[in-house]
């Protein structure tokens, strides 16, 4: 593209850009080792393994991780199922109201979280539903659906309708066709939708803040702790979450690459 004199420009920029993106990550990890004196974990005071050796010292953290993980799992599960069904309808069928469906699915993605959260709270207040575990779950399933549709849909669009017709031609009825051909083909997409939903739900703060009532999830705990000073154990758990999700992501990519090589 550019003249050869400037060929070094883009790679250098890419390096700087990645450094910019990784800077906060490194700080989060680094400050999990900070030998902290005082309440506010913002200044480097020396290296220690203490917080890693005692990650449960602040009992509120494991207490908050429980609901977070449960809600992330359940909301990812339900939204993946609902989203997969919608994606199948959108890719495989022509029907009236498709454009409206597309717009409806896009709206939650384009709505500011504060509006989504406050509108849900307005509804829960209006019907006098107590906010808590169930209302967080409802909200998380909601915002995950659109992402699940997008993820699965990309996968369905990636292979030909012929495969399903071939199965039907070979005496597989609708259910067998779905079970033996469609599902195995879209499985990587379905799995990705689940992982994405899990991650989005686990990390959600804004919408949970409106719908949680007295239930405390991990982000809600961090939010509350931010005013009083974040214990370094939060950094430990943040690092753990980071490492686990990175590992899962890499494993997923490797699995997908392998099955892509096997299938292509």
């Amino acid at each position: 593209m550019r003249g050869s004199r400037f060929r070094w420009l883009l790679p250098t920029y890419l390096g700087l850009g990645l450094a910019y993106l990784f800077m906060p990550v490194l700080l989060v990890i680094m400050f999990s080792f900070n030998d902290l004196r005082g309440r506010f974990n913002v200044r480097w005071q020396g290296f220690t393994f203490d917080h890693w050796l005692d990650p449960f010292r602040v009992p509120a953290i494991p207490r908050a991780l429980g609901p977070s993980l449960t809600i992330a799992f359940l909301s990812a599960l339900v939204s993946t199922v609902l989203g997969t069904l919608i994606a199948l309808a959108l890719v495989r069928y022509r029907f009236r109201g498709k454009a409206a469906t597309n717009v409806s699915l896009f709206m939650p993605m384009a709505t500011p979280e504060v509006v989504m959260g406050s509108s849900l709270l307005a509804l829960f207040v209006a019907v006098q539903a107590a906010t808590g575990f169930v209302t967080i779950l409802i909200a998380h399933i909601l915002f995950n659906i659109s992402y699940a549709v997008a993820t699965v849909r990309a996968r369905i669009a990636g292979y030909e309708r012929d495969l399903e017709e071939a199965a039907m031609d070979l005496y597989a009825d609708e259910w067998q066709t779905f079970r033996r051909v469609t599902l195995p083909m879209i499985m990587p997409g379905v799995f990705a939708a689940f992982l994405l939903g899990f991650a989005l739900s686990f990390d959600d703060f804004v919408i949970s803040n409106f719908t949680a009532g007295s239930v405390q999830t991990f982000p809600l705990y961090v939010w509350g702790a931010a005013r009083r000073g974040i214990p370094p154990q939060v950094n430990v758990w943040g690092t753990v979450v980071f490492l686990v999700t990175v590992t899962v992501m890499l494993l997923y990519l490797r699995w997908q690459r392998r099955s892509a090589l096997k299938r292509a």
Binding site: M1, L10, P11, Y13, L14, G17, L21, F22, P24, V25, L27, V28, V42, L82, G83, L85, I86, L88, A89, Y93, R94, F95, T101, N102, V103, S104, L105, F106, M107, P108, A110, T111, P112, V114, V115, S118, S119, L120, L121, A122, L123, V125, A126, I138, L142, I145, V149, A150, F205, N209, P219, V222, V234, N235, G238, F242, T245, V246, M249, L253
Partner: protein, 297 residues
Amino acid sequence: MTAATVSGPAVSAASAARRRRRIPYLLLLPGMAWLLLFFFLPLAQLVVTSLEEGSLEAGFNFAWAWDNYGALFTTYRGQFLRSLVFAGIATLLSLLIGYPLAYAIAFRTGRYKPLFLVLLLMPFLVPFLLRTLAWRIILADEGLVVTTLQSIGILGSSGRVLATPMAVVAGLTYNLMPFMVLPIYVALEKMDKALLEASADLYGSPFVSFWKVTWPLSLPGVISGTLLTFIPAAGDYVEVELLGNPQSAMVGNVIESKFLNVIDYPAAAALSVGLMVVVVFLVVFYVRRVGTEELVT
């Protein structure tokens, strides 16, 4: 062959066709019902709530209280405008920083493209609040950023970044980066690389090739990236809370505190609706421009 055996399959064919037409609606039903119940219905309720009046003690009653919307242009005009301005600046910065990143990954990483994509996304696997809190350390008063800015004279010797609008915009720009980079990357990636060779072959200089070929083809990505950055930025309240100060409050902060602390539902709902109107306006513009088929991809 009798008439009955001929009409039998014909009738079942018609009912089978009807059944087949119903399948997509059955597939849509559970998910779209969820959307209707917990997205569109709440939005409607939000509008209803925004027209109520009363107090927490006396209860809120529906009263066509349009006055709640007046506060948008009077009491909270500052917060509302600040939201749009902060979001606008953060979006512009994201585009300036993010476009070359997307470009470099799409055109310059060769077979390591997947690796660089992973690297691009990896930082966002750190919990959102922790990522944002890390910026407190980066932008702290004796931190590297502030001392550098002071030494080159951009910032006065007692000037600070943390607890100013600058920190809020910096946080927004950082946290929304993937929403800008990914759509642009996808648009660039879809582009046929031979187009650039064709442009060069037809006497296009690198600059002309970029301006006349690459940029227009990446425009759908730029538009959706802009939208996906601006909208969450305009509604954000976390950055102000963690990095800014009360004077830099955005509309999201008002909504949050009126809903959760002050408990003035009608006023908060009116602000929410106001924000939503801006968003719908933007989405309509976008749909006109790009079409509906690519929305959820």
